[in-house]
Protein backbone atom coordinates (compact mmCIF):
# COMPACT_ATOMS: atom_id res chain seq x y z
CA UNK A 1 0.00 0.00 0.00
CA UNK A 2 1.17 3.47 -0.80
CA UNK A 3 2.27 5.42 2.27
CA UNK A 4 -0.06 8.25 1.33
CA UNK A 5 -3.17 6.11 0.90
CA UNK A 6 -6.32 7.84 2.04
CA UNK A 7 -7.29 5.09 4.40
CA UNK A 8 -9.91 6.74 6.56
CA UNK A 9 -13.35 6.54 5.01
CA UNK A 10 -16.75 7.88 5.94
CA UNK A 11 -19.85 6.71 4.08
CA UNK A 12 -23.32 8.17 4.15
CA UNK A 13 -26.48 8.43 2.05
CA UNK A 14 -27.57 11.85 0.82
CA UNK A 15 -29.37 13.48 -2.12
CA UNK A 16 -30.27 10.09 -3.49
CA UNK A 17 -26.84 8.53 -3.63
CA UNK A 18 -24.07 7.00 -1.55
CA UNK A 19 -21.22 9.27 -0.56
CA UNK A 20 -17.74 8.22 0.45
CA UNK A 21 -15.11 10.60 1.79
CA UNK A 22 -11.54 9.29 2.06
CA UNK A 23 -8.93 11.19 4.04
CA UNK A 24 -5.39 10.62 5.37
CA UNK A 25 -6.41 11.19 8.98
CA UNK A 26 -9.72 10.39 10.54
CA UNK A 27 -12.32 13.13 10.11
CA UNK A 28 -12.92 15.13 13.29
CA UNK A 29 -16.42 15.37 14.70
CA UNK A 30 -16.45 19.03 13.70
CA UNK A 31 -15.53 18.31 10.09
CA UNK A 32 -18.11 15.55 9.92
CA UNK A 33 -20.83 17.80 11.27
CA UNK A 34 -19.88 20.54 8.81
CA UNK A 35 -20.11 18.16 5.87
CA UNK A 36 -23.43 16.72 6.97
CA UNK A 37 -24.81 20.21 7.61
CA UNK A 38 -23.69 21.37 4.18
CA UNK A 39 -25.31 18.45 2.40
CA UNK A 40 -28.56 18.85 4.33
CA UNK A 41 -28.67 22.55 3.58
CA UNK A 42 -28.07 21.98 -0.14
CA UNK A 43 -30.79 19.36 -0.29
CA UNK A 44 -33.14 21.72 1.53
CA UNK A 45 -32.56 24.37 -1.11
CA UNK A 46 -32.57 22.36 -4.34
CA UNK A 47 -34.37 19.06 -3.93
CA UNK A 48 -37.15 18.58 -6.45
CA UNK A 49 -38.35 15.64 -4.35
CA UNK A 50 -39.09 17.64 -1.21
CA UNK A 51 -42.20 19.76 -0.81
CA UNK A 52 -40.37 21.88 1.77
CA UNK A 53 -37.32 22.71 -0.39
CA UNK A 54 -36.69 26.32 -1.32
CA UNK A 55 -37.09 25.72 -5.04
CA UNK A 56 -40.37 23.87 -4.47
CA UNK A 57 -41.91 27.33 -3.99
CA UNK A 58 -41.36 28.02 -7.70
CA UNK A 59 -44.14 25.58 -8.50
CA UNK A 60 -46.40 28.57 -7.84
CA UNK A 61 -44.11 31.09 -9.51
CA UNK A 62 -42.42 33.86 -7.55
CA UNK A 63 -38.96 34.72 -6.32
CA UNK A 64 -36.48 32.51 -4.53
CA UNK A 65 -33.17 33.55 -3.03
CA UNK A 66 -30.43 30.94 -3.12
CA UNK A 67 -27.22 30.69 -1.09
CA UNK A 68 -24.30 32.66 -2.64
CA UNK A 69 -23.09 29.59 -4.58
CA UNK A 70 -26.40 29.61 -6.46
CA UNK A 71 -24.85 32.25 -8.70
CA UNK A 72 -22.24 29.81 -10.09
CA UNK A 73 -24.87 27.17 -10.72
CA UNK A 74 -27.16 29.62 -12.49
CA UNK A 75 -24.52 31.15 -14.71
CA UNK A 76 -23.17 27.75 -15.75
CA UNK A 77 -26.69 26.55 -16.58
CA UNK A 78 -27.31 29.73 -18.58
CA UNK A 79 -24.11 29.19 -20.61
CA UNK A 80 -24.97 25.56 -21.31
CA UNK A 81 -28.55 26.50 -22.16
CA UNK A 82 -27.10 28.79 -24.84
CA UNK A 83 -24.51 26.28 -26.14
CA UNK A 84 -27.08 23.47 -26.35
CA UNK A 85 -29.70 25.76 -27.88
CA UNK A 86 -32.05 25.13 -24.99
CA UNK A 87 -31.61 21.35 -24.84
CA UNK A 88 -29.99 21.50 -21.39
CA UNK A 89 -32.13 23.45 -18.97
CA UNK A 90 -32.86 23.54 -15.24
CA UNK A 91 -36.51 24.04 -16.23
CA UNK A 92 -36.73 20.41 -17.31
CA UNK A 93 -38.37 19.32 -14.03
CA UNK A 94 -41.86 19.44 -15.51
CA UNK A 95 -40.77 17.36 -18.50
CA UNK A 96 -39.30 14.74 -16.15
CA UNK A 97 -42.52 14.62 -14.15
CA UNK A 98 -44.48 14.25 -17.36
CA UNK A 99 -42.49 11.08 -18.09
CA UNK A 100 -43.11 9.75 -14.61
CA UNK A 101 -39.94 10.80 -12.76
CA UNK A 102 -41.85 12.69 -10.11
CA UNK A 103 -41.54 13.21 -6.37
CA UNK A 104 -43.60 10.07 -5.71
CA UNK A 105 -41.47 8.01 -8.10
CA UNK A 106 -44.66 7.03 -9.89
CA UNK A 107 -42.80 6.16 -13.11
CA UNK A 108 -46.08 6.46 -14.92
CA UNK A 109 -46.00 8.88 -17.85
CA UNK A 110 -48.73 11.50 -17.53
CA UNK A 111 -48.94 11.88 -21.30
CA UNK A 112 -46.80 12.74 -24.30
CA UNK A 113 -43.39 14.28 -23.64
CA UNK A 114 -43.56 18.02 -23.08
CA UNK A 115 -40.84 20.58 -23.70
CA UNK A 116 -39.51 22.74 -20.88
CA UNK A 117 -40.47 26.41 -20.65
CA UNK A 118 -38.25 28.83 -22.54
CA UNK A 119 -35.72 30.37 -20.13
CA UNK A 120 -36.13 34.09 -20.79
CA UNK A 121 -39.85 34.05 -21.33
CA UNK A 122 -40.95 33.47 -17.81
CA UNK A 123 -37.81 32.69 -15.93
CA UNK A 124 -34.83 34.68 -14.78
CA UNK A 125 -31.85 33.45 -12.75
CA UNK A 126 -29.52 36.34 -12.08
CA UNK A 127 -26.89 36.11 -9.36
CA UNK A 128 -28.39 34.00 -6.61
CA UNK A 129 -31.97 35.11 -7.21
CA UNK A 130 -34.49 33.19 -9.29
CA UNK A 131 -37.64 34.87 -10.53
CA UNK A 132 -40.38 32.83 -12.16
CA UNK A 133 -43.39 34.63 -13.59
CA UNK A 134 -45.23 31.37 -14.04
CA UNK A 135 -45.02 28.04 -12.22
CA UNK A 136 -41.81 26.14 -13.00
CA UNK A 137 -40.39 22.90 -11.69
CA UNK A 138 -36.68 23.33 -11.32
CA UNK A 139 -34.36 20.34 -11.65
CA UNK A 140 -30.68 21.04 -11.09
CA UNK A 141 -29.78 17.36 -11.16
CA UNK A 142 -27.40 17.83 -14.09
CA UNK A 143 -24.98 20.06 -12.16
CA UNK A 144 -26.10 20.30 -8.56
CA UNK A 145 -24.47 17.13 -7.35
CA UNK A 146 -21.18 18.24 -8.84
CA UNK A 147 -21.40 21.56 -7.09
CA UNK A 148 -22.14 19.84 -3.79
CA UNK A 149 -19.07 17.61 -4.27
CA UNK A 150 -16.99 20.79 -4.71
CA UNK A 151 -18.51 22.37 -1.61
CA UNK A 152 -17.78 19.28 0.46
CA UNK A 153 -14.22 19.25 -0.88
CA UNK A 154 -13.78 22.92 0.08
CA UNK A 155 -15.10 22.20 3.56
CA UNK A 156 -12.60 19.36 3.99
CA UNK A 157 -9.79 21.70 2.95
CA UNK A 158 -10.97 24.34 5.41
CA UNK A 159 -10.75 21.75 8.18
CA UNK A 160 -7.17 20.91 7.20
CA UNK A 161 -7.79 17.78 5.12
CA UNK A 162 -5.93 18.93 2.02
CA UNK A 163 -5.64 15.42 0.57
CA UNK A 164 -8.98 13.75 0.11
CA UNK A 165 -11.38 12.01 -2.21
CA UNK A 166 -15.06 12.90 -2.30
CA UNK A 167 -17.09 10.33 -4.21
CA UNK A 168 -20.81 10.90 -4.61
CA UNK A 169 -22.06 7.81 -6.40
CA UNK A 170 -19.24 7.91 -8.93
CA UNK A 171 -18.97 11.68 -9.29
CA UNK A 172 -15.60 12.25 -7.74
CA UNK A 173 -13.08 14.92 -6.88
CA UNK A 174 -9.64 13.86 -5.71
CA UNK A 175 -6.76 15.82 -4.23
CA UNK A 176 -3.51 13.98 -3.52
CA UNK A 177 -1.43 11.34 -5.26
CA UNK A 178 -3.11 10.09 -8.45
CA UNK A 179 -5.68 7.32 -8.11
CA UNK A 180 -6.97 5.10 -10.90
CA UNK A 181 -10.67 5.17 -11.66
CA UNK A 182 -12.55 2.62 -13.74
CA UNK A 183 -15.22 3.80 -16.20
CA UNK A 184 -18.26 1.60 -15.70
CA UNK A 185 -19.60 -0.16 -18.79
CA UNK A 186 -22.98 1.37 -19.63
CA UNK A 187 -24.47 -2.00 -20.50
CA UNK A 188 -22.71 -4.13 -17.91
CA UNK A 189 -22.12 -2.55 -14.54
CA UNK A 190 -19.76 -5.33 -13.45
CA UNK A 191 -17.21 -4.37 -16.04
CA UNK A 192 -15.30 -1.28 -17.11
CA UNK A 193 -14.66 0.16 -20.56
CA UNK A 194 -11.51 1.95 -19.48
CA UNK A 195 -9.46 3.52 -16.73
CA UNK A 196 -8.29 7.07 -16.12
CA UNK A 197 -5.87 8.55 -13.58
CA UNK A 198 -7.32 11.21 -11.32
CA UNK A 199 -5.44 13.84 -9.30
CA UNK A 200 -6.44 17.39 -8.37
CA UNK A 201 -9.35 17.10 -10.75
CA UNK A 202 -12.95 16.01 -10.80
CA UNK A 203 -14.41 13.13 -12.80
CA UNK A 204 -18.14 12.97 -13.33
CA UNK A 205 -20.28 10.55 -15.29
CA UNK A 206 -23.69 10.58 -16.78
CA UNK A 207 -25.42 7.54 -18.17
CA UNK A 208 -28.86 6.44 -19.12
CA UNK A 209 -28.45 2.86 -17.96
CA UNK A 210 -29.48 3.62 -14.38
CA UNK A 211 -32.47 5.74 -13.39
CA UNK A 212 -34.23 4.09 -16.31
CA UNK A 213 -37.74 3.11 -15.37
CA UNK A 214 -39.17 1.51 -18.45
CA UNK A 215 -38.33 0.86 -22.05
CA UNK A 216 -36.77 4.01 -23.46
CA UNK A 217 -37.54 6.18 -20.42
CA UNK A 218 -34.67 7.56 -18.37
CA UNK A 219 -33.54 10.81 -16.80
CA UNK A 220 -31.51 12.47 -19.56
CA UNK A 221 -33.90 14.61 -21.56
CA UNK A 222 -33.67 17.13 -24.35
CA UNK A 223 -35.49 20.07 -22.76
CA UNK A 224 -36.62 21.41 -26.13
CA UNK A 225 -38.67 18.29 -26.79
CA UNK A 226 -39.05 16.68 -23.38
CA UNK A 227 -37.91 13.40 -24.92
CA UNK A 228 -35.16 11.10 -23.66
CA UNK A 229 -31.84 11.23 -25.47
CA UNK A 230 -30.86 7.89 -26.93
CA UNK A 231 -27.96 8.46 -29.35
CA UNK A 232 -25.49 8.81 -26.47
CA UNK A 233 -25.65 6.36 -23.58
CA UNK A 234 -22.77 7.31 -21.31
CA UNK A 235 -20.36 10.20 -20.83
CA UNK A 236 -17.45 11.05 -18.54
CA UNK A 237 -15.83 14.42 -18.08
CA UNK A 238 -12.56 15.31 -16.35
CA UNK A 239 -12.43 18.96 -15.35
CA UNK A 240 -10.96 21.27 -12.75
CA UNK A 241 -14.03 21.06 -10.54
CA UNK A 242 -17.00 18.76 -10.17
CA UNK A 243 -19.57 21.46 -10.97
CA UNK A 244 -18.20 21.72 -14.50
CA UNK A 245 -17.47 18.01 -14.87
CA UNK A 246 -21.02 17.09 -13.86
CA UNK A 247 -22.73 19.69 -16.03
CA UNK A 248 -20.58 18.98 -19.10
CA UNK A 249 -21.17 15.23 -18.74
CA UNK A 250 -24.88 15.88 -19.26
CA UNK A 251 -24.30 18.48 -21.97
CA UNK A 252 -22.34 15.85 -23.96
CA UNK A 253 -25.58 13.90 -24.33
CA UNK A 254 -27.07 16.86 -26.13
CA UNK A 255 -24.35 18.41 -28.29
CA UNK A 256 -21.03 17.28 -29.82
CA UNK A 257 -17.92 17.91 -27.71
CA UNK A 258 -16.65 20.58 -30.11
CA UNK A 259 -19.46 22.91 -29.14
CA UNK A 260 -18.50 22.69 -25.47
CA UNK A 261 -14.73 22.72 -26.02
CA UNK A 262 -15.12 26.13 -27.61
CA UNK A 263 -15.82 27.57 -24.15
CA UNK A 264 -14.65 25.00 -21.61
CA UNK A 265 -11.40 23.15 -20.95
CA UNK A 266 -12.05 19.47 -20.22
CA UNK A 267 -11.34 15.86 -21.21
CA UNK A 268 -14.11 13.44 -22.05
CA UNK A 269 -15.27 9.99 -23.07
CA UNK A 270 -18.62 9.71 -24.86
CA UNK A 271 -20.23 6.36 -25.62
CA UNK A 272 -22.78 6.16 -28.42
CA UNK A 273 -25.69 3.74 -28.45
CA UNK A 274 -23.97 1.67 -31.15
CA UNK A 275 -21.08 0.89 -28.80
CA UNK A 276 -18.58 3.33 -30.28
CA UNK A 277 -16.67 5.56 -27.92
CA UNK A 278 -15.51 9.07 -28.74
CA UNK A 279 -12.78 10.56 -26.57
CA UNK A 280 -10.58 13.61 -26.34
CA UNK A 281 -7.28 12.82 -27.97
CA UNK A 282 -5.24 14.16 -25.07
CA UNK A 283 -7.05 12.02 -22.51
CA UNK A 284 -4.67 10.13 -20.25
CA UNK A 285 -5.73 6.58 -19.52
CA UNK A 286 -6.99 3.71 -21.61
CA UNK A 287 -10.18 2.54 -23.26
CA UNK A 288 -10.55 -1.21 -23.71
Amino acid sequence: MSPAALQHSVRFEAIGTTWQIDTLAELSAGARAAVVGLVEEYDGVYSRFRADSRIAGLAYGGTVELPPHGEHLGSLYRTLYRLTEGAMSPLVGGSLEQLGYDADYSFTPAGSPCSAPVWDERFDWTGNVIKAQAPVILDVGAAGKGQLVDLVSQTLKAFGYAEHTVDAGGDTIHHGLPITVALEHPYNTGSAIGVVPLADQALCASASNRRRWSDGLHHVLDATTGRCVDKVVATWVLAGDALHADALATALFLVPPEILLAEFDFEYVRVHSDGRAQFSSSLAGALF
Binding site: E13, I15, G16, T17, A87, Y105, F107, T165, D167, A168, G169, G170, D171, T172, I179, T180, V181, A182, L183, E184, H185, P186, T189, G190, S191, A192, I193, A205, S206, A207, R210, R211, W213, S214, T224, A234, W236, V255, P256, P257, E258, I259, L261, A262, E263, D265, E267, Y268, R276, A277, Q278, F279, S280, S281, S282, L283, A284, A286, L287, F288
Partner: protein, 154 residues
Amino acid sequence: MSNAVPKPISRWALTTLAAASLLGSAGCAATPTPAPGAEGGSGETSSPATDGAEARAYADGTYTATGSYQTPGGEESIGVTVTLESGAVADVSAEPMPSNPTTEQYQGKFSSGIKDEIVGTPIDELNVSKVSGSSLTSGGFKEAIDQIKGEAAQ
Protein backbone atom coordinates in the same frame (compact mmCIF):
# COMPACT_ATOMS: atom_id res chain seq x y z
CA MET B 1 -4.26 6.83 -26.13
CA SER B 2 -1.53 9.23 -25.20
CA ASN B 3 -0.40 10.06 -21.73
CA ALA B 4 -0.20 13.72 -22.52
CA VAL B 5 -0.98 16.03 -19.67
CA PRO B 6 -3.87 18.35 -20.56
CA LYS B 7 -2.55 21.80 -21.30
CA PRO B 8 -4.41 25.04 -20.90
CA ILE B 9 -5.57 26.50 -24.16
CA SER B 10 -5.22 30.16 -24.87
CA ARG B 11 -8.36 32.11 -25.44
CA TRP B 12 -7.76 33.22 -29.00
CA ALA B 13 -7.41 29.68 -30.28
CA LEU B 14 -10.73 28.69 -28.77
CA THR B 15 -12.50 31.72 -30.11
CA THR B 16 -11.35 31.21 -33.65
CA LEU B 17 -12.01 27.50 -33.59
CA ALA B 18 -15.53 28.18 -32.39
CA ALA B 19 -16.37 29.47 -35.83
CA ALA B 20 -15.50 26.13 -37.40
CA SER B 21 -17.50 24.27 -34.80
CA LEU B 22 -20.68 25.98 -35.92
CA LEU B 23 -20.81 23.35 -38.63
CA GLY B 24 -21.87 20.90 -36.01
CA SER B 25 -23.88 23.19 -33.81
CA ALA B 26 -27.13 22.92 -35.65
CA GLY B 27 -28.06 19.82 -33.68
CA CYS B 28 -31.71 19.02 -34.22
CA ALA B 29 -32.35 22.56 -35.39
CA ALA B 30 -31.13 21.67 -38.93
CA THR B 31 -28.99 23.75 -41.30
CA PRO B 32 -25.66 21.97 -41.26
CA THR B 33 -23.45 22.81 -44.19
CA PRO B 34 -22.61 19.96 -46.56
CA ALA B 35 -19.42 19.84 -48.53
CA PRO B 36 -19.44 22.47 -51.22
CA GLY B 37 -19.54 19.81 -53.91
CA ALA B 38 -21.68 21.98 -56.14
CA GLU B 39 -18.95 24.54 -56.26
CA GLY B 40 -16.47 21.87 -57.29
CA GLY B 41 -13.77 20.20 -55.22
CA SER B 42 -14.13 18.99 -51.70
CA GLY B 43 -12.00 21.35 -49.75
CA GLU B 44 -12.91 24.87 -50.72
CA THR B 45 -12.57 27.28 -47.88
CA SER B 46 -15.98 28.27 -46.68
CA SER B 47 -17.41 30.50 -44.05
CA PRO B 48 -19.45 28.17 -41.90
CA ALA B 49 -20.99 30.86 -39.74
CA THR B 50 -22.73 32.52 -42.65
CA ASP B 51 -23.66 29.33 -44.49
CA GLY B 52 -25.30 27.94 -41.39
CA ALA B 53 -27.67 30.87 -41.12
CA GLU B 54 -29.70 29.84 -44.14
CA ALA B 55 -32.47 27.30 -43.66
CA ARG B 56 -32.27 24.52 -46.27
CA ALA B 57 -33.20 20.88 -46.44
CA TYR B 58 -30.31 18.46 -46.95
CA ALA B 59 -30.29 14.84 -47.93
CA ASP B 60 -28.98 12.36 -45.40
CA GLY B 61 -25.37 11.33 -45.81
CA THR B 62 -21.89 12.21 -44.74
CA TYR B 63 -20.51 15.58 -45.70
CA THR B 64 -17.07 17.03 -45.33
CA ALA B 65 -16.22 20.69 -45.42
CA THR B 66 -13.16 22.74 -44.67
CA GLY B 67 -13.34 25.80 -42.52
CA SER B 68 -10.67 28.41 -42.17
CA TYR B 69 -9.89 30.76 -39.36
CA GLN B 70 -7.35 33.39 -38.50
CA THR B 71 -4.65 32.82 -35.95
CA PRO B 72 -1.84 35.15 -34.94
CA GLY B 73 0.36 32.92 -37.11
CA GLY B 74 -1.82 33.23 -40.19
CA GLU B 75 -4.79 31.42 -41.67
CA GLU B 76 -5.43 27.83 -40.58
CA SER B 77 -7.88 25.20 -41.81
CA ILE B 78 -9.88 22.48 -40.17
CA GLY B 79 -11.84 19.76 -41.92
CA VAL B 80 -15.22 18.91 -40.46
CA THR B 81 -17.25 15.83 -41.31
CA VAL B 82 -20.95 15.86 -40.57
CA THR B 83 -23.29 12.87 -40.80
CA LEU B 84 -26.94 13.68 -41.35
CA GLU B 85 -29.73 11.33 -40.41
CA SER B 86 -33.35 12.33 -40.82
CA GLY B 87 -32.23 15.86 -41.47
CA ALA B 88 -30.47 16.17 -38.13
CA VAL B 89 -26.82 15.98 -37.26
CA ALA B 90 -26.06 12.45 -36.12
CA ASP B 91 -22.32 12.76 -35.89
CA VAL B 92 -19.62 15.35 -36.25
CA SER B 93 -15.89 14.95 -36.34
CA ALA B 94 -13.12 17.42 -36.90
CA GLU B 95 -9.90 16.69 -38.74
CA PRO B 96 -7.06 19.04 -38.01
CA MET B 97 -5.01 20.23 -40.97
CA PRO B 98 -2.30 22.06 -39.13
CA SER B 99 0.35 23.99 -40.94
CA ASN B 100 2.43 24.68 -37.87
CA PRO B 101 3.12 22.79 -34.63
CA THR B 102 1.44 25.33 -32.38
CA THR B 103 -1.80 24.97 -34.23
CA GLU B 104 -1.45 21.21 -34.16
CA GLN B 105 -1.35 21.34 -30.41
CA TYR B 106 -4.53 23.39 -30.22
CA GLN B 107 -6.33 21.38 -32.85
CA GLY B 108 -5.33 18.13 -31.21
CA LYS B 109 -7.40 19.26 -28.27
CA PHE B 110 -10.26 20.09 -30.56
CA SER B 111 -10.41 16.82 -32.46
CA SER B 112 -11.24 13.52 -30.86
CA GLY B 113 -10.45 9.88 -31.26
CA ILE B 114 -13.04 7.22 -31.99
CA LYS B 115 -12.92 3.73 -30.57
CA ASP B 116 -14.96 1.49 -32.80
CA GLU B 117 -16.36 -0.80 -30.18
CA ILE B 118 -15.81 -0.56 -26.48
CA VAL B 119 -14.95 -3.77 -24.73
CA GLY B 120 -15.73 -4.53 -21.12
CA THR B 121 -13.13 -5.78 -18.66
CA PRO B 122 -14.32 -7.14 -15.30
CA ILE B 123 -13.81 -4.41 -12.71
CA ASP B 124 -12.60 -7.01 -10.21
CA GLU B 125 -9.63 -7.73 -12.45
CA LEU B 126 -8.57 -4.11 -12.58
CA ASN B 127 -6.45 -2.46 -9.94
CA VAL B 128 -8.60 0.61 -9.44
CA SER B 129 -9.48 2.80 -6.48
CA LYS B 130 -12.89 3.94 -7.69
CA VAL B 131 -15.55 3.22 -10.22
CA SER B 132 -17.27 6.03 -12.05
CA GLY B 133 -20.54 5.44 -13.81
CA SER B 134 -24.06 6.64 -13.66
CA SER B 135 -25.19 7.69 -10.23
CA LEU B 136 -26.06 4.90 -7.91
CA THR B 137 -29.76 5.01 -7.51
CA SER B 138 -31.48 6.46 -4.50
CA GLY B 139 -33.31 4.30 -2.00
CA GLY B 140 -36.70 5.52 -3.17
CA PHE B 141 -35.88 5.06 -6.82
CA LYS B 142 -34.52 1.57 -6.30
CA GLU B 143 -37.51 0.50 -4.22
CA ALA B 144 -39.94 1.77 -6.81
CA ILE B 145 -38.10 0.01 -9.60
CA ASP B 146 -38.04 -3.22 -7.63
CA GLN B 147 -41.76 -2.85 -7.07
CA ILE B 148 -42.43 -2.30 -10.75
CA LYS B 149 -40.27 -5.29 -11.65
CA GLY B 150 -42.17 -7.36 -9.12
CA GLU B 151 -45.51 -6.32 -10.54
CA ALA B 152 -44.37 -6.80 -14.09
CA ALA B 153 -43.22 -10.32 -13.29
CA GLN B 154 -46.65 -11.43 -12.03
